[in-house]
């Protein structure tokens, strides 16, 4: 499966070239909010008013791709929580008004599939349409779905795929109660090295056009694998199996893109995985750009695609060890040691 185009709205200025040109936004709040475009050119104002942030960011990231790419055969979205702000607003009304007569807007906007439905509606796309909500693997499941769709369809098929997650007071509160976020403020350029409990919440939407045709492609997604509830030895066995399945050795990886989020409880898992590779294997982090959220691996793939095309090498925000343009990248992310994912991406030159 090939990436043909991409677009992102994130806590960095990714909806224009500013981020690619070297701009690095520092966030110092207890969460890292997305920097959003005005949307005035992509979303009619009457629609925009009714949209929650998740749907808004998702549409904002998807519409430029729809304008630039003809003939899309469907829409596949990954989101752990969808429009949670609308969801809990509706819930609050239920309780506060003792189940009185409510307006349906929040309810309709709150369903996780509202974004994929809205993209279909705005682009008049009656093709394949699915939303995956499998927690921290929601985006990976969307990738897998797209990969199977393209394998089973004729050449030149293409899909828009992507992910969205929004910060709301409510999911922040719930995850805070579950001890998932840091108590102290940590700026994003210091996030990875904090080594305290929890991470910092981020948000955003990243969208891709994927096809089964290598013409004009930006990157090739070779394979992906998910691993659930593994022990350390199982993680190593399954990672090795993934390399055998793809006829690669660990030495073939030029760069690891790692999901470290500064949470001392789980960051050792990235060290474990890194230790399986030769000591001089280069690596970069990505959550220092966008914070942590369930579908942040979509941003990792955004970063990866640009790195494979020789961009961002000297970017001020790059943390890790990166000296040369990589050709083969492995993205590794995990959530609380429960859901792990590997995404193998190669440059397109042959």
């Amino acid at each position: 499966m090939y990436i043909k185009d991409l677009s992102s709205i994130s806590p960095q200025i990714t909806f224009t070239d500013e981020f690619l040109n070297g701009d690095f936004k520092i966030h110092t709040n207890t969460f890292y909010s997305a920097i959003e475009p005005s949307y005035s050119e992509t979303i009619p104002s009457s629609l925009l008013r009714r949209m929650g942030k998740a749907v808004r960011m998702g549409i904002g990231a998807a519409m430029p791709l729809i304008e630039r790419n003809e003939k899309l055969d469907g829409i596949v979205i990954g989101t752990a929580n969808g429009g949670l702000e609308n969801c809990i607003n509706f819930l609050n009304q239920i309780i506060d008004y003792d189940e009185g007569m409510l307006t349906p807007t929040h309810f309709v906007q709150s369903t996780p599939n509202a974004l994929a439905g809205q993209i279909a509606l705005m682009s008049k796309n009656t093709g394949y349409n699915v939303t995956h909500v499998n927690g921290a693997l929601a985006f990976e499941n969307a990738l897998l779905d797209a990969m199977m769709f393209l394998e089973l369809n004729e050449r030149n098929s293409s899909l828009i795929i992507g992910a969205v997650e929004e910060i709301s007071n409510y999911n922040y509160n719930i995850d805070q109660l579950a001890n998932r976020y840091k108590e102290e403020c940590v700026s994003n350029d210091k996030l990875i090295e904090t080594k305290t409990n929890g991470s910092v919440c981020g948000e955003g939407s990243t969208m891709f056009v994927v096809t089964n045709d290598s013409n004009n492609a930006l990157a090739k997604i070779v394979d992906l694998k998910q691993i659930n509830f593994p022990t350390k030895s199982e993680l190593e066995i399954k990672l090795n199996q993934f390399f055998i399945d793809n006829e690669l050795t660990l030495e073939n990886i030029d760069l690891l893109v790692l999901g470290n989020n500064g949470d001392i409880q789980f960051d050792f898992l990235y060290d474990d995985v890194k230790s399986f590779f030769p000591a001089d294997t280069e690596y970069v982090y990505y959550k220092n750009f966008v914070g942590d959220y369930r579908t942040s691996s979509a941003f990792a793939l955004f970063l990866t695609t640009h790195l494979l095309n020789g961009q961002l090498l000297n970017h001020a925000g790059i943390e890790g060890n990166l000296t040369k343009i990589p050709k083969t990248i492995l993205i590794y992310n995990q959530f609380e040691g429960i859901q792990h994912s590997l995404i193998l991406v190669k440059s397109v030159e042959e």
Partner: protein, 397 residues
């Protein structure tokens, strides 16, 4: 292309906690929609629901998980149906751990079924509830995955009311593309203040038990439940009793409105046509259709229009939501179970309470129980967000 066989089924809803109990209820025309006994809401007084007739504690006792405080009703319903399905298919504990065994589930309300606890936790009203780590849509999937140490691909889908039909579709493609040998597919949802108030705000809940395809229908009745199928490749299923073959599936978006289907029913028509194309059969070979049939003004007229567009002569059809109410994410897989029961036993079950069939288009649902030799059956699921999915099951030859 790899064939996909169904080797196991599990179901729980207001009309039964096993597949056999569902079969008896369908044969005897027993409706599960009535006053709620356990659901707490001001609407429990004046509306009727397809409620599973057990309390949360009873459900946990039945499933031997009384100590798992963080398990929600959605999770326990899912567990109940999951266990029945793997038992029938003879999937051993060891086989579940194989990386060739996948689990694709779905839910809409998911862990948010405890609306009051979620309100408290989201607004920091009190000490964290038992469910603070249970609210996400994927919660039930992950708890079952952990419990059975399922080794293969795991996913949770939410395409509203077509969720579990898409779980079945995705599972089928895992087998077709060689990524799994066996997949447990389906979905679960429980009645929640969240969905009851949501559908009520759209003014599509009926005061009385829903009357799908009736001229005087007044909306849908909400239900709850869970259903799972075991899909297996030919090699994996070779020595097993095969219930049927999954031969067709189609997915399309109506691209019209967030919560209603277009008058021209583009999405429903496309999903049915795609399923027929994949199954490589002509429309006139479909012997029975389990319709989406919610009982809302919009769904039933647009679905009737779609059926009359796709089929020159509309095959016998019913809405089994007239028995169970609309079980949301579970509806696609629950109705797949009902379609498979029809197919297996060569029986058609009546659509309940359709006294004056929709006059337009001159077609009416099955009105009484009858025996009929069936070869190919279709099941439709259409959801908010324009998400339409059709499945075709065929007798094994």
């Amino acid at each position: 292309m790899q064939k996909i066989f169904i080797t196991g089924m599990g179901a729980i809803s207001s009309i039964g906690s096993t597949v056999d109990e569902h079969l008896n209820a369908l044969r005897s025309g027993k409706c599960g929609i009535q006053k709620a006994r356990f659901f707490q809401s001001r609407y429990a007084e004046n509306l009727v629901f397809g409620e599973v007739p057990f309390s949360d504690d009873q459900l946990k006792e039945i499933n031997n998980i009384t100590r798992q405080k963080e398990f929600t009703r959605t999770t326990v319903l899912a567990l109940n149906a999951f266990k029945e399905a793997i038992h029938q298919a003879g999937i051993s504990a060891e086989l579940l751990k194989s990386d060739r065994t996948a689990f694709i589930s779905s839910s809409t309300v998911g862990g948010m079924c405890y609306t009051d606890e979620l309100y408290s936790d989201a607004n920091l009203k009190a000490v964290p509830s038992n469910y603070v780590r249970s609210y996400e849509g994927s919660d039930h999937t992950l708890r079952i995955t952990k419990m059975f140490e399922i080794g293969g691909i795991i996913d949770t889908i939410n395409t509203a009311c077509s969720s579990s039909a898409n779980a079945i579709y995705l599972g089928a493609r895992l087998i077709q593309t060689g990524r799994a040998d066996r997949v447990i597919v389906g979905g679960a949802d429980s009645i929640a203040k969240y969905t009851v108030n949501g559908f009520n705000s759209l003014m599509i809940l009926s005061d009385e038990a829903c009357k799908p395809f009736d001229e005087n229908r007044s909306g849908l009745s909400l239900g709850e439940g869970a259903a799972y199928l075991v899909l297996e490749s030919e090699d994996s299923a070779y020595d097993k009793t095969k219930i049927a073959e999954l031969t067709g599936f189609g997915n399309s978006n109506d691209a019209f409105h967030p919560s209603t289907t277009s008058d021209t029913a583009i999405g429903p028509i496309l999903s049915m046509e795609l399923a027929l194309k994949i199954a490589e059969i002509k429309p006139d070979l479909i012997d029975y259709i389990n319709a989406h049939g919610t009982g809302t003004e919009n769904n039933d007229i647009t679905e009737t229009y779609a059926l009359n567009t796709v089929f020159t002569k509309v095959p016998p059809y019913n809405s089994t939501k007239s028995y169970t109410g609309h079980t949301l994410a579970a509806a696609g897989s629950l109705e797949a179970v009902f379609s498979l029961l029809s197919l297996k036993h060569n029986e058609l079950y009546p659509s309940l309470r359709c006294e004056n069939p929709i006059q337009e288009h001159n077609s009416k649902p099955i009105s009484h129980f009858c025996k009929k030799e069936l070869k190919h059956v279709m099941s439709n699921s259409f959801g908010f967000g324009g998400n339409c999915t059709s499945l075709i099951f065929s007798k094994c030859i």
